[in-house]
C-alpha cells in the first residue's frame, strides 16, 4: 500500500491494513462464505417446521443482525482495535438512532392499534 495510506493512529473505514495479498483475499472469502451460509439459513428458516411459528420473525432478525456483523467485519474491516475507535463510535451512534426509530415506531404504533376500535365495528357504528 502507498505511504499515504499507512496510518499509525487511525485507520479509514473500509481500509484493510494488510500488505499480504493472500490475507486480504482470505478475509473476503471467509466473509463471503459466512454471509452465504447465513443468507441460506434465513431462507431455510422460512420454510422449515423446526422453529415455532411466532418465533420465525425473531430467528430471521437474529440471522440478519449476524449477517450485517459479518459484512462489517470481513467486508468493511471495522474492528475493535484502537485504530478503529472513531469508526466504531460513529457506527454505535448510528445503530442507536436506528434502534430508536424502528423500535420506537413499532412500540408506539402497537399501542395505538390496541386502543383503536377495529375497523369493522367503526363502519357498523357509522351506519
Amino acid at each position: 500500500m502507498s505511504d499515504e495510506n499507512v496510518e499509525r493512529d487511525d485507520i479509514a473505514p473500509g481500509f484493510l491494513d494488510s500488505p499480504d495479498l493472500r490475507d486480504a483475499v482470505q478475509s473476503y472469502v471467509i466473509g463471503f462464505v459466512l454471509a452465504s451460509l447465513l443468507t441460506a439459513a434465513s431462507f431455510y428458516v422460512l420454510y422449515t417446521h423446526l422453529i415455532w411459528g411466532p418465533g420465525i420473525p425473531v430467528a430471521l432478525a437474529v440471522l440478519a443482525v449476524a449477517q450485517i456483523g459479518v459484512h462489517l467485519v470481513f467486508f468493511m474491516h471495522i474492528t475493535t482495535a484502537p485504530d478503529n475507535t472513531n469508526n466504531i463510535l460513529a457506527l454505535a451512534f448510528g445503530v442507536l438512532i436506528v434502534v430508536l426509530i424502528i423500535g420506537g415506531s413499532l412500540w408506539i404504533m402497537h399501542h395505538l392499534n390496541d386502543r383503536l376500535m377495529p375497523m369493522q365495528e367503526m363502519m357498523q357504528m357509522q351506519r
Binding site: 500500500m1 487511525d10 479509514a12 473500509g14 486480504a24 478475509s27 467486508f75 468493511m76 472513531n86
Partner: protein, 227 residues
C-alpha cells in the same frame, strides 16, 4: 516509528490512544493524530471517515422507511398481501447477485491495493454486471406487481413497499453510475491518491448497499412472506 519501549509504555497508559496520557508522556507532539493532538489525520483517513458518517446517515434514512413499512405491513386495505405477491426464488436470486457483487467489489479493493489495473477492471466489471442483473430482476418484479393491479396506489402496505425497495434500487443505480466512472478514472488516471480515496468511498458505498439489502430482504420479504 519510535522505539519498541515507548510504544509499549504508551499502549499500557493509553491503549485507545485518546491523546492526553501520551501527550503528557511525549510532550504532545507526535502521537494521536486525528484526536485533537499531533495534527490532523491523513486525507485518506479524513475522507474515508467523512464518507462513513454520510453512509450512517443514509442508513438512518433507510431506518425510517423500514419503520414505516414494519408499521404498515398489515395495512393491505383488502388488497394483496406479501404472501400473494412475493416470489421467493426471485428474491433469492436478487440476494445472491448482490452478495456476490459485494464480494467481487471487495476483491477489486484488494486488486487496488496490489495496483493491478487489469484485475481492478475485471472485478469492477463483474460487480457492475451483477448490479445490473439485480436491477433487471427488481424491475421485472415491480412490473409484474403493477400488472396485477398491485401498484403503489393500491394500499398503504404497497406504497411503503415500493418506497423502501425503490429507494434501495435508486441507490444501486447511483452506485452503478459511480462504478462506471471509477472504471474510467482508474483506466485514464491510474492509482493516484485522489482516485484511491474515491475507490475507498465507492467500496464502502457498495458494501453498505448490501447491508441495507440484508435488512430489506429480512424485514420486507421474509417476515412479510411469513405473515
Amino acid at each position: 516509528m519510535s522505539t519498541s519501549e515507548t510504544l509499549h509504555e504508551r499502549d499500557i497508559v493509553d491503549p485507545y490512544r485518546l491523546g492526553r496520557a501520551h501527550a503528557a508522556l511525549h510532550g504532545g507532539r507526535e502521537y494521536a493524530t486525528g484526536h485533537g493532538e499531533g495534527g490532523p489525520a491523513s486525507k485518506y483517513v479524513i475522507v474515508g471517515y467523512g464518507f462513513w458518517i454520510f453512509l450512517l446517515s443514509d442508513i438512518v434514512m433507510f431506518s425510517a422507511f423500514f419503520a414505516a413499512h414494519a408499521v404498515l405491513q398489515t395495512a393491505t386495505a383488502g388488497g394483496p398481501s406479501g404472501r400473494d405477491l412475493f416470489d421467493p426464488s426471485s428474491i433469492a436470486l436478487e440476494t445472491a447477485c448482490l452478495l456476490v457483487s459485494s464480494f467481487t467489489c471487495g476483491l477489486s479493493a484488494v486488486a487496488t491495493g496490489a495496483r493491478s489495473q487489469l484485475w481492478v477492471q475485471v472485478f469492477l466489471l463483474i460487480t457492475g454486471l451483477l448490479g445490473l442483473a439485480f436491477l433487471a430482476l427488481e424491475a421485472r418484479d415491480f412490473a409484474g406487481m403493477v400488472m396485477q393491479g398491485a401498484g403503489p396506489q393500491r394500499s398503504a402496505f404497497l406504497s411503503s413497499l415500493f418506497a423502501v425497495v425503490g429507494c434501495h434500487g435508486l441507490h444501486v443505480s447511483a452506485g452503478l453510475l459511480w462504478l462506471g466512472t471509477m472504471m474510467a478514472q482508474i483506466f485514464v488516471k491510474g492509482f493516484r491518491p485522489n482516485i484511491l480515496r474515491r475507490m475507498l468511498c465507492f467500496n464502502l458505498f457498495w458494501h453498505v448497499l448490501d447491508v441495507i439489502w440484508v435488512a430489506l430482504f429480512t424485514i420486507v420479504y421474509l417476515i412479510g412472506e411469513g405473515r
